[in-house]
Symmetry: D2
């Protein structure tokens, strides 16, 4: 095992550990540890809600999920010598659930969860159709996931961190707050909200000195969206073996990580849509001096995906275009087109006996692929979603014989607002 | 060779052939041929501009591309016994350039083209940054494409039809015209336009009787966008071996096909972004009676992709979020996020010596993958674009040694409006 | 289509064509055409028995297959400037069945065949267990093969030439004759024979002058085995997109090709084990001057396989070791180990209702993988054979529920000696 | 972590642990633990020489490797209710190096080794050309291996157990001893030997009672070869996610495991040819009652490989036929053909500056593929070996420009007998 630079004790809350992480982005959050270019090290991660979601058959916890407290991030880790303008090279050597603990109350201890957030608590990709809260518990056996709440499927997890990134500079943070504030101002009372402004309530700021906490909490950015620093990109292909190049905005880069996923479909469509878990991640880091200019990288991340993703060769795919369910024509809207493609997939699966919610939860959790197929054919974008046929215990393809019928069991736990 | 039910003579225009196809969608366009469920047959296809784009080093033809005349569609083909409510099962058995003709003036005769449309003539995905017209000619050697206009790359084409679909019913057509008209009405003078209304000028209506032509031309839908009937989906994964299930809206299904691509990246981002060509396609068709209800399919297409796509295992990937270049924060806009990801890829490639236009043309033509990575992390979508590293003759990955420099040659032909 | 340098008329025998090929290796067989480095050209190929095997339900033709007349080779093609010591670079641009002819009496016209040779007529890999002749006819639909003689399977063909090679020098030919003669001499009456000596009866020598024919026929090597010049390597992975590097032994290289396969399993285990067909193949050639020394290549071929093989991701695999069926322990004999692995696969499939011969024919024709797993663990080699599970219409994996039972139909045609 | 049923303390020898394993096959070796069908459990494994091979730059340890003491096997594990005639279903849930220990003197603590055995100590696949001992040390970083002894290569390990199997019955053991003894008797003084007879010296027999030890040690089979019970199959594709079906010969099945490999090429051609290491493996087991008869399985193993192997899409391949280096023609000898193919690959790599031994060690350790291409084309088998081009830091393909030259460094440590 590489040196463990950020340990977590599963029996204690995230705030009450040897080293305390953070749940906001701010340049003044001091590093919890310093590593050198060329170093290999291990980091423990806590699941994003720090144990608020439990392994049971109720969705009340999802309904009331404490969104102000996320994401529990491990770090920041300073990289010696990294300067603004450099590229930070991050190799994901390994990533997985909590080692040596395959049962217990914490997601990552042999199990994980997928949730559909209620519209009143954040919503999700298809919140107009699915306004209530739902949950599925997934059990891990090696790299395979199955669920008592979504029967007759099993799949190899595509394990990855949902969130990694470097600290923003003060200027970058100010830009975030300015532009997101401007968006919120266009419809400040919207449910769900258009964006999340800085929120002192629930802010966890690592080692920020007491004297600065109130100010920093009022400035620090929420971690939900991906931004110039990487962040909550939810790219399912950041599996082990992946190399990522991050822009560096502050001395030391101040790299943080969290939100591990046992698996996720492209888009993480239920918002809480991956199989959420805590666990460990092993890194190797290096620095390309001046790399931001050399390679013209000013934001986001370049990456070279690993080569041990679960392999599938047979798919059933669905397409969608940018027309709303009500029949309104929108202009080249790939977000909408992907919603329609996902709804087609969900509707299709109901012919086999799944409830729409079970199908939705499955698309959030399984390694489905979501692609931009056509983005220029005015006025319609065409988006496509690909489901591996091998994840179903039965033949899921259309045929003259008609669909197999599953036993949906008790279904996915449900809680209405 | 399967029976050739729609032949084309390369020496004559599309309108002057033994059987004449169409370039608009309308239920009254009569079938040119009837096939039976279980039949295998071959169809010739003309490139979408019917020879207006030539194999030279000028982009004037792209600048003046006659958009009102597209797409040249082969068909419709009636399938005996198919009724509204059925699913039409279409197997793509084979697809390729014009057989036995590997040189000549017509795209598909050993070569194809990619164009960037000028903003004044349709524009494209990144038209704000690339307002002028550009062109690249690609030469085919077996399934490999190379271009004198985009040096030091070569790739295996992912050959597919850009456009396939069934005829709309009168009611469906009316809905299209209503909703697209409503969109246009919101900004009728926009350049490029929001959508394309029925256009009698240039309409080709197959065997519609003379008496009906004026009326039908005024009603018939343009072929640019994908819609409920499939249509111009531009799904690069519809390679040979693929099975597609289309909803049937009229007696006989009246299936049409056109717009063959030697290769295309996800999104066909330059609008004329695939490698455009004419050629042949072999089909097998069948019908699932009542399949629309059995499988809950009311629109678009379900498909099972083939298993002989070009395989790549190493990729360099770029991400983007839904913030405009000017810094404006948009709300969960995957279309914008994919634009930003593609711009990042383009900017990156310029560090190796490519002009931005060469990079843009390459992304339109090569088998790149475009994915919805995060679609729920308010306010930012995260989109990712993956380029196979093996298509470059050099090592395209970031490194401490810095980028290789290509010789960009004369560059991509350019024409300003 | 590239220039056709070796045309074949399907209605006439191989000997009665515009250009006449050959079925023996000899340096004095003159080229039928000359191409230049950088050239692209098309070659027609006849199936290896030139029409002796027909599309019916009898195996009499396989029982009496005229082995002295094979393989019908197209060529030789001289490459301008190629000299002994060079490497000939051969790109397979495309390869397929007879274009434009999808029905007819000749294999390659929409169909192909797999045969099990009788022990008395050459035998095969498992001739001790399968001493009689059997046949399966496969029908092509696009790149998919199915057979009325082997029900409930279908697979994407892995199309390739079984035989390609350069002409031997006189010295190399002499070595072949010497060493193969020495082997035959150890058991000259063996049935099947240990090797095939030069055989004037049935020899086809292209343009060898009449005066030299008798001598050349007595010297020329049979084409059955692969040798230093490539030859009948039966490497299923030489699919389109493949680049092969052949040593050059005579001026002009004198390259020949034949024995096209619609598909084949590793080993071509039934001898006539691929799906045999005639068709076309498109080449691009080049020369690396002095490449044999530069790259230390004195024999056989180096190749870079194409990237459009049919992809499968789920397999059922069987292992075998080097112990005979009678229980005799042999020493590190991978040939035997692979026989045992294949027999295990065959026996396994009989539990689903296949006859052993149907299973054997399937393993010869489908894209199965045969691997050397352990070759050093004295005294046993371990060989493994992998069958793609997706080629079966049913679930072929072992389970507590027991095997599905197919209807074997009339079975594979059979003829006893 | 699943329950640990077989722990190993890295600081103590294999014989001096809480539970003691075995290094011979015998039905009377009692189980160390009993599990139930449906159970998931973890097993620690020691590298096969129990620490005799060290992380240094000498090959003396390989020269004197104590072959009589191998393999250190963990087990046997009894499965409740398993009876002779059943199939034991073994799922490999996870497998890897020693957890939490990434440095130390034991292979598996962050490093592993590949050895070429001297002819006088077992030899290897190419012992005629490589009669001396050589060693390479590989360092692990995540799933990537690199070596100071084989420069300019790195690859993703294909992690798997080299040896798994069920206990033989007394009758089966007797057959092994009879047939292997008969082989040895044909040349009892051969170096290296034809097979390894029972050897009391060094025998480790787990919990066999003292009174029976001498007898059992004289009967028990060596673990080198794979046999009817699975055993030392060295199948590189038994990666995590794999399901194996083993025949059951004794009550409880008595399953054992050992010889973990961080990576291996097909054939494990240097004998000590994988990257040898200790580590852990997680299993799930089940039983198919009467499965041996239901599925016709009497020996060896059926398996369904996992789907997370390292993926490569570009290969350079070499072929070989069954003619000896001295020019002798052998009859359909795939073992020889694969030797010749591997020698071609080795010779090829020397053009880039590798010593032959470095190339040989690489082929033993990297995930190369070895295939039976032609096994019926009398008198020559054709074998092929495929190297992923991406494992080299440079372009390894032949070109007109000639080969890149590496710096071979100090080379692979060497020790002559």
């Amino acid at each position: 095992m590489p040196e463990l630079v950020f340990p977590l004790d599963s029996s204690r809350p995230f705030e009450d550990q040897q080293l305390v992480g953070h749940n906001r982005w701010h340049p003044e959050i001091p590093p919890v540890a310093t590593v050198r270019p060329g170093d290999t090290f291990r980091v423990h991660c806590r699941e994003w809600f720090d144990g608020a979601i439990v392994n049971d058959d109720s969705a009340e916890d999802i309904l009331n999920a404490p969104l102000k407290t996320v994401h529990k991030l491990s770090g920041p880790f300073a990289v010696e010598g990294a300067k603004p303008g450099d590229l930070l090279v991050v190799d994901i050597l390994d990533v997985g659930p909590i080692p040596q603990e395959d049962s217990g109350p914490l997601a990552g201890q042999g199990w994980g969860y997928t949730g559909i957030f209620a519209r009143s608590n954040g919503g999700g990709f298809l919140t107009d159709r699915f306004p209530d809260a739902y949950k599925a518990i997934w059990d891990f056996r090696g790299q395979t996931a199955t669920s008592r709440h979504v029967p007759e499927v099993s799949f190899t997890g595509i394990v990855h961190p949902g969130l990694m990134g470097t600290a923003p500079s003060a200027g970058l943070l100010a830009r975030w707050n300015q532009r997101e504030g401007a968006l919120i101002a266009t419809d400040p009372d919207r449910v769900p909200p258009l964006a999340l402004p800085p929120e002192p309530d629930g802010a966890l700021l690592g080692g920020v000195p007491e004297a600065d906490r109130q100010r920093v909490a009022g400035e620090a950015a929420r971690t939900a969206p991906p931004r110039e620093n990487g962040g909550n990109q939810d790219i399912k292909n950041l599996t082990k073996g992946t190399r990522v190049f991050y822009p560096v905005f502050v001395d030391g880069a101040n790299f943080s990580v969290g939100d591990l996923h046992f698996s996720q479909g492209d888009g993480e469509i239920t918002f809480c849509g991956a199989i959420e878990m805590g666990g460990f991640i092993d890194f190797h880091v290096d620095v390309i001096k001046g790399g931001m200019e050399t390679y013209g990288v000013s934001e986001n991340a370049i990456f070279l995906p690993g080569n041990t993703d679960p392999q599938y060769s047979e798919w059933i795919a669905f397409s969608g275009t940018s027309v709303t369910l009500e029949g309104e024509q929108c202009y080249l809207d790939s977000q909408l087109a992907y919603q329609r493609a996902c709804l087609h997939a969900i509707d299709y699966l109901t012919n086999f006996g799944y409830s729409p919610e079970q199908a939705y939860l499955l698309l959030g959790a399984a390694p489905i692929e979501g692609r931009f197929s056509g983005v220029v054919d005015i006025p319609n974008s065409c988006a496509t979603v690909y489901l591996p046929t091998a994840i179903f215990d039965f033949d899921v393809r259309p045929s003259a014989a008609g669909p197999h019928r599953i036993d949906p069991g008790t279904g996915a736990p449900h809680a209405a607002a």
